[in-house]
Each structure stands twice: as C-alpha cells, then as structure tokens.
C-alpha cells in the first residue's frame, strides 16, 4: 500500500461512519438482486406456468403422455421428462469411466508436460460453446453415425429380426442415441476437471503409505487415491449430470425433435430444454406458452434437486464425513 494513504489526522467520524453505511447498503442491494433473480426464476415459471398447471394439475401435467399444441391443445410433459431422463442418464453412464480415466492419466501416469498439455486441452474443450459442438454433430457426426452404425444394424434387423424394428426406430441419424453420445462428449471435460481437482487433493502421505506397503501403482490408485477422492468424483459427476439435464442447444440440434411417445433407440425424441427452445418462439396460444413455462418449472425443480444433492454429497462424503468442515 502506498504510504501516502496513511491519514495524518484521525479521519472525521462522518467519513468512516457514513462511508461504511453507504458502502454496505450498496453491497446489500447488489447481493439482494441475486437473491431476487433466483427467487424470480422460480416465481416466473410458477406464475406463467400456472394456467397449464391449473388446467391439467401438476401431477396430471408431468404424467400426461400427449403434447398436442395443434388441434386438441392438450399438454403433458411426460415425453420430455422421459427424453431428458434417458439422454442424461445415458450420457453420464457413457462419460463417467472415460472421464475418470483421463483424470487418473493426467495426474498419475502422464509426464508433467503431457499432463499439463492434456489438462489445458480438456479445459479448452469444456469452454467450446455448445452450438459449435452442435454444428459438428449436425453435419459430421449424425450422418456418419447413420452410415456406419444405424443403417447396418437396421438392415441386419430387417433380415434377421423384424420384431426389433419398432424399438430401433427410424435411422435418420438425428435421434436419441446421437444426442446422448454428443452429450457424453460434452460432459467428459467437466467430470475430468472436477475429478482431477479431487485427486490432486489426496495427500502425498496417503500414497507413500500405500507404496511403503508394497502396493503397485494401480493398487495405490485403487486403494489410496480413488477412495480418498470419491466424494469429489461423485459430486462432480452429479454436477455434470445437472449440466446434461439443462444442456439445450447441442441436444436440440441432434435429437430430431419428435414430441410424441413412444420414442425409439435411433429415432427422434425431445427433451425438456429442446422443446422449450423449439416451440417458445412460435407459441401464440396462451395455454401453449404456459405449458412451456410449466416445463421450465419442472426443469427448475429437477436442477435444484440435483444441485442440492451434489452439495450434500460434497459435504457428506468428504473424508472426515464433513465433521472437520
């Protein structure tokens, strides 16, 4: 600090008293605005979604199988809940092991320069906007999947097992599987970063003790490192799961956007964010708009629960069971 800043005389009381009051007031107002935003997020979806909830009932809305904005104006969110559940659970299942493997590779096996390079790369990929991943998915990934995976399986099914066809669905390339794989690619960097943070926090003594007992490198990782970091790894995966639930653009670009159950494996489907993105701009009917807002409310509740779960696990599964914290 500059020596000139030191006051020569005691400061006038008004300067510190009033200054502190004004400063704290400004800070409180700014902080309150965040609280209002979060509350507003819940409030807006409840108020604007109220018309739909009143019409169908909350349980009726989330279990309604039909989403028909055209003729009957019946709105049920089940197709989108189902689509979101399948894509997010599927992507987490696909992403978890490889993501943890990369983190282990970076912090345990790779030479420092290589580890740093991969770490930077993973962080950079995490920063790639989801529309950019989406355009690659639309023009490169989905057509490639159709030619090399979906069509061969589909043709095999036509000849050998036609009863599978309705389950497999129309192999146009844009559908549930494509969206799930892209989602998995998108959450891998996220899980890797959080896993690496957790692994880096494992004390050196913990490893050295295991080595001293004669453990091989893999045994050290499996018995000393991973168990210690398990809280961070699990919480990171749940946060990534939350990401997958809310991920909008890449999914909307790849899932094919079909609003009616039943969905098939390769065929088009929809998720909660994708239906909001696709229909909100064009919705004119007020019940339709309100139903989309009500889907926003469901999305809000699910995201809230996922985040609370992650926070709880971080606290609970940390070594010491959160007692020291």
């Amino acid at each position: 600090m500059d020596i000139k800043h030191i006051p020569k005389k005691p400061l006038p009381a008004i300067y510190s008293w009033l200054g502190d009051r004004i400063f704290l007031t400004v800070i409180i107002v700014l902080g309150l605005s965040i609280i209002l935003m979060t509350a507003g997020l819940a409030l807006v979806t409840i108020v604007d979604g109220w018309e739909a909830i009143k019409e169908f009932g909350f349980i009726g809305f989330i279990t309604g199988k039909v989403w028909d904005p055209g003729v009957n104006r019946t709105f049920g969110a089940l197709p989108f809940l189902f689509g979101t559940a399948v894509t997010s659970v599927g992507s987490l299942a696909l992403a978890f092991l490889p993501a943890v493997a990369i983190a282990v590779f970076i912090s345990e096996y790779a030479a420092p320069w290589l580890g740093k390079m991969i770490d930077n790369m993973v962080n950079l990929i995490a920063a790639v906007p989801s529309v950019v991943i989406g355009i690659w998915g639309i023009f490169v990934f989905a057509p490639w999947m159709r030619e090399t995976v979906y069509l061969p399986i589909y043709n095999w099914a036509i000849e050998n097992n036609p009863s599978l066809l309705p389950i497999l669905g129309n192999p146009i390339g844009y559908g549930m599987v494509s969206a799930t794989i892209i989602l998995a690619l998108m959450i891998i960097p996220f899980i890797t970063a959080l896993t690496k943070d957790a692994i880096d926090q494992v004390p050196v003594e913990q490893r050295e003790a295991a080595y001293a007992l004669g453990a091989t490198h893999w045994e050290v990782i499996r018995m000393a490192v991973i168990p210690y970091a398990r809280g961070g790894i699990l919480a990171g995966s749940i946060l990534a799961f939350g990401r997958a639930i809310g991920e909008t653009m890449a999914v909307a670009m790849l899932i094919g956007n079909k609003n009616t159950l039943p969905f098939s494996i390769f065929g088009p489907a929809a998720t909660m964010p994708s239906v909001i993105i696709n229909e909100f701009r064009e919705a004119v009917n007020s019940l339709h708009l309100s139903s989309l807002m009500a889907i926003g409310l469901v999305l809000f509740i699910i995201s809230l629960l996922v985040n609370l779960l992650a926070a709880y696990i971080t606290k609970k599964l940390a070594i010491g069971g959160g007692k020291t914290a």
Binding site: F23, L30, A127, W218, G246, R281
Partner: protein
C-alpha cells in the same frame, strides 16, 4: 482389505494387473480425446474455408441472396454480438463484484449465508431458464425482443460465476492486510476498496474472463430475448431496443436452415465464435499463471 489382496494374488499377477490398467487408462484417454480434437479440427478447417471479405462486411439478408450467389455476410451478427456481450458485461460486473464482496468481506452479515445458497442455486440453473426470466422481465413489458433483453439474459448467466470467482480472489488475500488497514484507522469500506480489491485484481479479472467466455457461447437464452435479425438495424439504437442478431443464435439458425450456402456460413460463425472463446480462455490462463 490389504491382506485379502496379498493373499489372493501373486506378485506376478499384481504386476500384470498394473500393466493392464496402465494400458486401459492410456487407451481410453486417447479414445476420448481423439473425437474432442476432431471436433475442433472440423470447425477450424470448415470455418476458415467459409470466411471471406464479404463475411465481415455484408448483412445476411434473405436466403435467396445466398442462393443467387450475391454477397452475404454476418457483419450485423458480429456487431450485435459485441453490443449484447458488452451490455451483459456492464450489467453483470457491478452485481457480481458486489455479491463477491458481500460473500468474502462480510462473513458475519445476516445476508451472507442466504446469498451463498441463492448464488449457487442460480449458478446451477440451466441457461435456458435464465432466458425465460429475461423474457418475462424485459421482453414482455417492452413488447419487443431486444438487445437489452439479450444482455440481461447473458448477465444472469455471468453474475453467479463472477460472484463466486470474486469471492475466492478476495478471500485469498490474507486477513492481516485488512487488519493492517483497520489498525491505521481506515474505515472498513476504504480497506476493502483500497487494499483488498487492488490486491485481488488479477484473480478477479481471471474470473471475469471465464464467466465471459461462458456467456459468449450461450445461444439458448438469446433465442427468445434478442431473437435474431437478418439485417442491420436502421439506427444504432436498434441494437439495444430492437431484435438483434448474435453469433451463437445465428449459428443455430444457419445450421438448422435448409440452405447449403447458409450451412457453410454457419461453420464460419462457428470459427469466429470459437476463436473468440479461445482468446478469452487463453487470456484467463495466462493471467492465472502470472498470478501464481
């Protein structure tokens, strides 16, 4: 656990297992990193191929313009992105910094724990919901989609990230510095503004860049706030009070359009967007390393 392992497996078996796991982990690292690198490669190659002089100087216009081979570009999109992103930065910076100061400097304040919970909740919400909030707060009362609404939506994306990173930058400054300031008779607000914040400046800027990089790529909240526009507005105020084009939202519209010419412009928008994010990302890394 340890005795069981030793009893069950020979030394030879264990060292084989060790080698197998090294191979498996290395293999899956390569397997996963390859497609991720391929994505970036595709965007760079296709994107640079789509860039030309017109891309940066012409407006998009109707699809027929592109199909007839007349010059089209995304100048209105690039300008619109600059305006909306700048607006969001102006809105988000004071709120995020203020909340960060509250979280780190007033741990005894009653508002502190509530603010922390609410900020983390906001951070965990999908960006599309923040767009819905901005739609209801700004678009509906104004009666029109606008750049301002887009800026607010992106600001809501950035605010919780800035608040958290400001907090962690500030709380890295040792308490003894604050005590030194208080001991020479400075009021608390002067201590914060003249000693703590300047010392934490580079950490705060790093957090800013990360939040900004995140908001710049968001398309979901912009689709129903700034909406999009194929032309430049007639007057510069149209960037703030009228529908505005932005890169991520335009990239989406181009990619799902049925016109081949627009698809290639989509790749162009992709490389511009990616380039911008990479610049922000590298700047934040550079600052972070310098701080260390």
């Amino acid at each position: 656990m340890w005795e069981q392992v030793k009893a069950r497996k020979s030394l030879r078996q264990r060292s084989i297992n060790d080698k197998i796991m090294v191979a498996l982990i290395t293999l899956s690292t390569i397997l996963v990193l390859t497609p991720l690198v391929i994505i970036i490669g595709y965007v760079v190659v296709n994107g640079i191929g789509a860039l030309n002089y017109d891309f940066f100087t012409e407006e998009l216009g109707s699809p027929t313009r592109a199909m007839r081979g007349q010059p089209t570009g995304l100048v209105h999109t690039i300008l619109g992105t600059a305006v909306v992103d700048l607006l969001s930065l102006i809105i988000a910076a004071p709120i995020g910094i203020g909340a960060g100061i509250m979280l780190s400097e007033y741990p005894e304040h009653k508002l502190n724990p509530l603010l922390r919970v609410m900020n983390d909740t906001l951070n965990g919400m999908p960006a599309i919901l923040k767009g819905l909030l901005a739609f209801t707060l700004i678009v509906r009362p104004m009666g029109t989609f606008s750049g301002l609404a887009g800026g607010v939506a992106l600001a809501i994306v950035m605010i919780p990230i800035i608040a958290r990173s400001t907090e962690s930058a500030l709380s890295n400054i040792p308490w003894s510095i604050r005590e030194a300031g208080l001991a020479i008779g400075l009021p608390r607000w002067r201590v914060i503004l003249s000693t703590v914040v300047p010392a934490a400046k580079s950490g705060m800027v790093t957090g800013f860049l990360i939040a900004f990089a995140r908001a710049v790529g968001e398309a979901a909240p912009l689709l129903f706030t700034s909406f999009g526009n194929n032309y430049l507005p007639n007057h510069w105020t149209g960037f703030i009070f009228g529908p505005v084009d932005t890169l991520p939202q335009r990239l989406y519209s181009l990619a799902i359009s049925p016109y081949k010419e627009w698809h290639s412009m989509g790749w162009g928008a992709g490389i511009v967007l990616l380039g911008f994010v990479i610049v922000l990302f590298s700047a934040s890394r550079f600052l972070y390393r310098k701080r260390k």
